[in-house]
Subunit: 219 residues, 2 copies
DNA sequence: AAAATAATTTAGACAAGCCTAAAAATATAA
DNA sequence: TTATATTTTTAGGCTTGTCTAAATTATTTT
């Protein structure tokens, strides 16, 4: 099925709204996500329903069909792999990759994204800590180990972040904390739960508010 | 100036037709290049003329303005850098890169293509031997040294090919001759002008018809 | 130089995706 | 439970880029 960029964006929006909200997503919510008016959403929803990509009953909201869901996950896969490429290979900052990936995710090719995945050596997570779906659309949700819970003296690898807000991303750029970096917890301060961490650029003190928002893999 | 993908494609088509044909390009020629009808071309040309991207007088054909030319060269730059990426990094075959680059060249970003250029270490030519325009739009046309004119005993580096036909590209893939490869001319056969060439995979015999179509840089 | 042919432009129409304004349905409050 | 407010849908219209068919201009042929 050959979908337009717009149609793909609607599917992606419905997909993520289904997780963060109810099962049946309202037209208003979608309209905010894709930045149009609710009436335009109704039009598009009806088109997608004709193509069996969404379930739709008037006034009852929308949900993805199995095919619709499959396509949405494919787009998510593309988005996340492109984000990894932009960050790891082109050295974009953490906070700059999303917008560009929004464009790149719509490139049409049977083979491109699989070749990109090989080139990137099968990353498991994107720069925001979200898992990269595999070729078949399976998603491994990670086990939520945060930097804050790493024991003193132990090392770990940064695999993602929880808070994707712009200020937080910029802050991490400043600390030069990047995906794949190894961090070693030197000591913890019981008073405010801050920790002294050994990074690639030396030892830095990290507040609990920060360490609670960094996903890591224990070594 | 924010142009649509379609507008960009028209500019690119006019650009390349200007070189391979007359200075004033006809609507019919453009219609073949962008795969539409001549009447559609007229519509679009008038729109581009309004935006000062082309010079246009009814029934007299089209040529690019300075701005139009500048934009066209930017697209060519993007196209060629993406081709290098696809070939060198994702290991696509020579004959597969063009189509995908047609999509990637339209990604909108102020910084992406310059970062890609750095990542690719400033390639001077694309896989078809065409020069990559620099940031300012300057193009260095190369000096047309063909493999066939390399002296016996001398080495050279493959920088491009002249014939971009599908069979030829597939043939090169089979011989494993790639951009950047070093070739050494071991001997030449005066009878049919074929040559024995040392490649990365060993010595192979190359006919004059082939060696006439491979651009090289002498070492 | 007039007639025939070919190329180009205009006119009117269509699909995709969006909009505004009004109508219909649902949800909330009195 | 009726009245009010909110959400959703419909109706009609706009723009972009395309098309066909007809009209106009340019080019060739005789």
């Amino acid at each position: 099925m050959m979908l337009s960029q717009t149609e793909e964006n609607y599917l992606k929006a419905i997909y993520s709204l289904t997780y963060t909200n109810s099962n049946n997503v309202s037209t208003t919510l979608i309209s905010e996500a894709v930045k149009t008016k609710a009436s335009s959403v109704t039009d598009m929803i009806q088109k997608l329903a004709e193509k069996d990509l969404v379930h739709y009953k008037k006034y009852q909201g929308v949900s993805l069909t199995e095919i619709g869901q499959k396509i949405a996950v494919e787009i998510v896969r593309k988005h996340r792999l492109w984000e990894v490429f932009l960050l790891n290979k082109l050295h974009y900052n953490w906070d700059e990759v999303h917008e560009l990936a929004e464009q790149l995710e719509h490139i049409k090719s049977e083979t491109l994204i699989d070749k990109l995945e090989i080139f990137l050596e099968f990353p498991t997570h994107d720069p925001h800590g979200d898992p990269v779906p595999d070729k078949e659309g399976n998603i491994k949700h990670h086990n939520d180990t945060m930097l804050s819970s790493v024991e003193t003296g132990k090392s770990c690898v940064v695999i993602g972040i929880k808070d994707s807000s712009d200020p937080f991303l910029k802050f991490l750029d400043k600390l030069q904390i990047q995906l794949g970096n190894t961090l070693k917890v030197i000591s913890k301060e019981p008073f405010d739960n801050s920790m002294l961490v050994e990074t690639t650029i030396g030892s830095i003190s990290i507040s609990n508010q920060i360490s609670k928002n960094i996903f890591v893999k224990n070594l």
